[in-house]
């Protein structure tokens, strides 16, 4: 069932620059989608249309059948689609982590027992129960991202968009937040993850590549890696995929294109 339906979407910045050009995209409930593309390819503009932060200059975007160009639908659309940004600092409001996470559900006017329950579930899902009573500003970058994600999760959106949230994190924090994203997805939430790092796409349901405001590839990550010259779109392939391709062109006959270190290791060992 289509949750987000984008048709012939065009978007011009206020100065007239074309940011999105005739984008068609249908996202079903429960998908885990990675969107990648070079800087300025239109990734952020595209996802900002999905919760009506931006409105189309042409074409249409609808969420659960509600068209974003009608203002009366915005509250429902924004409840359905939550967004976590790259710089969590700009999103904190509460004095403590708990207060911060409770802010969203409080604004929905839920009873306090329900709010407590939502906060509990969110901190457990993100693995940040130990941070509840700390000030969000005292946390590390990775912890802040998790708090921001927990705040969005507590609103129970059907879909969460993560817009380049891993780009400022060290490898360990990145692994943790990626684990949390997978966990959120396994609970049935639709997840859209915008990133530069294609390593983060290997286990996604769909990988979408953008270039110059258009979608240029859309499919299973393995197929996208095989069929497209991603470097031509200014994106670095995961290093294991690249090595696997180089070996294939040197006559190495692995069973498949390896996506991870483990797969490549297995293939090399079998061919000994």
């Amino acid at each position: 069932m289509t949750m987000i339906d984008i048709r012939k979407l065009r978007y011009n910045y206020p100065d007239g620059t074309l940011a999105l050009d005739s984008v068609d995209l249908h996202i079903a409930r429960g998908e885990l989608i990675v969107i990648a593309g070079r800087n300025g390819s239109g990734k952020s503009s595209l996802v900002r249309h999905m919760n009506a932060l931006l409105l189309p200059s042409g074409g249409s975007v609808s969420v659960n059948g509600l068209c974003t160009s009608q203002k009366k639908h915005h509250p429902d659309i924004r409840r359905a689609v939550g967004m976590v940004f790259q710089e969590p600092d700009s999103q904190f409001i509460g004095m403590t982590v708990e207060e911060d996470i409770a802010f969203g559900p409080e604004n929905l006017g839920l009873p306090s027992s329900r709010i407590r329950n939502l906060v509990d579930i969110s901190v457990t899902t993100l693995g940040i129960s130990g941070l509840r009573y700390l000030s969000p500003r005292s946390l590390s970058g990775g912890q802040k991202q998790k708090v921001a994600a927990a705040g969005v999760l507590a609103m129970e959106p059907q879909c969460i968009i993560f817009d380049e949230i891993t780009s400022m994190l060290d490898p360990l924090s990145r692994q943790e937040i990626l684990g949390a994203i997978r966990h959120i997805h396994s609970g049935g939430t639709t997840v859209i993850h915008v990133t530069h790092r294609l390593e983060e796409a290997v286990d996604a349901d769909r990988l979408i590549i953008m270039d110059s405001g258009r979608i240029v590839a859309d499919g299973l990550p393995r197929n996208v890696f095989m069929e497209y010259d991603l470097e031509g779109y200014g994106i670095e392939m995961p290093v294991m995929v690249k090595l696997s391709k180089m070996l294939a062109s040197a006559g190495f006959s692995g069973r498949r294109l390896a996506l991870t270190k483990e797969e490549l290791l297995e293939d090399i060992c079998q061919l000994r």
Partner: protein, 276 residues
Amino acid sequence: MSIEVKDVTFRYAPGTPLETTALEGISLSINKGDFVLISGAIGSGKSTLIRHLNGLLRPSSGQVTVDGIAAYGKKVKAKVGVLFQFPHQQLFGRTIFEDVAFGPRNFGLRNPELKRQVHDALEMLGLGQGICPTSPFSLSGGQKRLVAIAGVLASRPDYIVLDEPLSGLDAEHKKSLLSALQLLSSKGTSVVVVSHQVSDLLSVAQKIFLLDRGSLVFSGTPAEYAKHSPPSMPEINFLMKELRSRGFDVRDDVFGIDDAFSEITRVLGLKEAVEE
């Protein structure tokens, strides 16, 4: 000509219950033309350390000198150009030209030199001087970051210190930034990059300093770093080590994809493919 950090300890909020030791007994030197990578987890003291290199912070004990002068005066500010994280929050000019020209103009540079240095910096980063009249606010996140870096390069400091310059940059922009920095370093500018994206920098850096909870836990070349094997090593290196542990006779100090490729083709007896 060097930056010397000698036995530097730094405490935030000294003498209060909130006192935290951010750096402990750090000694290192950065020489003319060095390409240095400072790495470590979030909170390891990287950003505190670089704030000492241009005198933004004074050590609680120990000393920092730049070309023999204590690192606190205005003289040092012109020698050491620093770019912090989230540089795009520092953009303010009406046009990109105004933004990039701000630093060198403050150091007294006027046209035509000013114009030339601004254009050179933009060209070097692959942005081209054509974008000069554009508003910096119409740029994408990665382009904004490059414009902010151009602002540092345009002042032509002897030492360039960049905090996480690669984050948010796509492959193309990363490549142009790294080759610009390599070029500068080969011409004698010292380049200090703070980053946890170690794998992108191992092939260009000459020296690596690794911080852990305020202490310097490693200093050496990329090859020595590979032997040290911290968790931030590129995956390629783990692949080679695992192949080795399974009886393949490959080198385990490999961290670049091309070296890994030749090692694997060698042990598997494949013909070397023609490189693109």
